[in-house]
Symmetry: C2
Subunit: 194 residues, 2 copies
DNA sequence: ACTCATATTAGTACCAAGTGCTAATAGCGG
DNA sequence: CCGCTATTAGCACTTGGTACTAATATGAGT
C-alpha cells in the first residue's frame, strides 16, 4: 500500500466525472474504504459534495437553455436586415465549432449561418431551402469572426421561389460563398405537401 | 380571499418554472405565506422539492452532454462504413431540429449529417469540404429518421481531391441529395495555407 | 524491534431542505 | 353562530453532507 491513496484518488476523480450523481457512501463501497476516507479525499481534491456537483451541472444546463433558445432561430447574430433585400449576420467561431485536430471550423457551421440568414431575409412566414451551391474558399479557425452578407438576387413569385446569395468573410477576406434557392411558403401552400 | 389560493398556486408554478433553484422559504417570503403553505401547495401541485428539481435539470443536461459529445464528431450515428468507399448514418429528427412553426427540419441539420458523413468516409486524417451542391427534395419532420448514404464517386489523388455523393432518405423516400468535393488533408499540407 | 509520520476509521455535533404527521387557528359564507 | 376550507405551527425524522476530535492502522527508516 505504497501509493494506493494516489491511485484511489485518481480513480475517484474519474468516477465522479463519469457519474457526478454518486454519493460518498456509494464511492466508499466502490473503493472498499470508509465514508470518511472518501470525504478526506474529496477535501484534498477540492471536489464538492453531491448536491453542489448536481447544482453546478443543473445551473449550466439552465443557462445553456436560456441562451440556446434565441440562438436556435438564427445561427449567428443578425446586425442588419432589410427584408426581401439583404441581411448581415456575425458568428464568432468558438472551440466547439472546429475540428479538434486542426482548429478549422466545420463546414456545417458556415452553412448554418448562411442558410439561416437566407431564411431570415425572406419576407415570409417561413421559407425552405430547395437547392444550394456552396464554396468553402478558405479555412476558418476558432477565434475568428464570420461576417455573412445575404443578398436576394432574384425572385420568381409565380413559382414561389427566391434566390439568395450569401458571402461570408473573415477580416474582409471571402471565405465562403453560398447560393440558395428558396421556396416561399405561403399560407395556403403551407403544410399541404408530403 | 375567495380564490387567492388558486392564483397563488398558478404564480407558484410559474415562479418555480422560471427559477427551479428557489427554496420553500424564499417562496414563502415571495408570496407572504408560511413555509407550510408552500409545502401544501407543492404537494397539491405535485411539484417536487428543490433537490429533486435540481437533479432533474441536471440529469437532463448530463444525458444531453453524453449524447452530444460523440455526436459532435459525426452528426448522426454511423451504422456502416467502408473507408474510402461508402458509409451510412442515421439521424433522428427531434423537436429541437425543426422550425417551430411547421415542424420541418432546418436545412443545416440535413447538411450537417451529410457533410460530416462525407468527412468520415474519407480515409484521411482530416478532410475539408471545398464545394458542395445540395437539393432539398422533400421536407422532413420531427420524429422521422433520416438515413444518409455516402458514396465516394471519384478521386483525384494528385490534387488531393475526392468527390462524395450523399443521398438521405426517410422511409426509403429520397429527401435530400448532396455532392461534396472534398480536400484530403495530408500531413505536409496540413496547416500551411491561409 | 521501535518510532514516527501518514493514512484510515470512528464518532459526535451540526446543517439545509426537506417529508410526514397532528393539531391549532383564521376567515368567511350561508 | 356553525361549518368548512385554508393557513399556520410544531415535532420527529431523513439525506447527504460539513467540521472537528480522537483512536487506530500501516508502512518505512534506522
Amino acid at each position: 500500500m505504497k501509493r494506493p491513496k494516489k491511485i484511489r484518488q485518481e480513480a475517484l476523480v474519474q468516477s465522479i466525472k463519469e457519474n457526478p450523481f454518486v454519493t460518498d457512501e456509494e464511492l466508499a463501497a466502490e473503493f472498499s474504504v470508509s465514508v470518511q476516507t472518501i470525504r478526506l479525499d474529496r477535501l484534498e481534491l477540492s471536489i464538492p459534495e453531491l448536491r453542489e456537483r448536481i447544482k453546478h451541472v443543473a445551473v449550466k444546463t439552465f443557462d445553456d437553455e436560456v441562451k440556446s433558445l434565441p440562438i436556435d432561430e438564427v445561427i449567428g447574430e443578425i446586425i442588419d436586415i432589410e427584408l426581401d433585400e439583404r441581411a448581415i449576420s456575425i458568428f464568432d467561431v468558438k472551440p466547439e465549432h472546429v475540428f479538434q485536430r486542426n482548429q478549422i471550423a466545420r463546414g456545417h457551421h458556415l452553412f448554418a449561418q448562411a442558410n439561416s440568414l437566407a431564411v431570415a431575409v425572406m419576407n415570409d412566414e417561413l421559407a425552405l431551402t430547395v437547392k444550394s451551391e456552396l464554396q468553402f474558399l478558405k479555412p476558418v479557425k476558432a477565434g475568428q469572426r464570420l461576417v455573412a452578407k445575404a443578398q436576394v438576387v432574384d425572385r420568381n413569385p409565380e413559382k414561389n421561389r427566391a434566390y439568395v446569395k450569401v458571402v461570408s468573410s473573415v477580416d474582409q477576406v471571402t471565405v465562403f460563398i453560398g447560393t440558395f434557392e428558396m421556396y416561399r411558403m405561403t399560407e395556403q401552400s403551407e403544410g399541404d405537401e408530403e
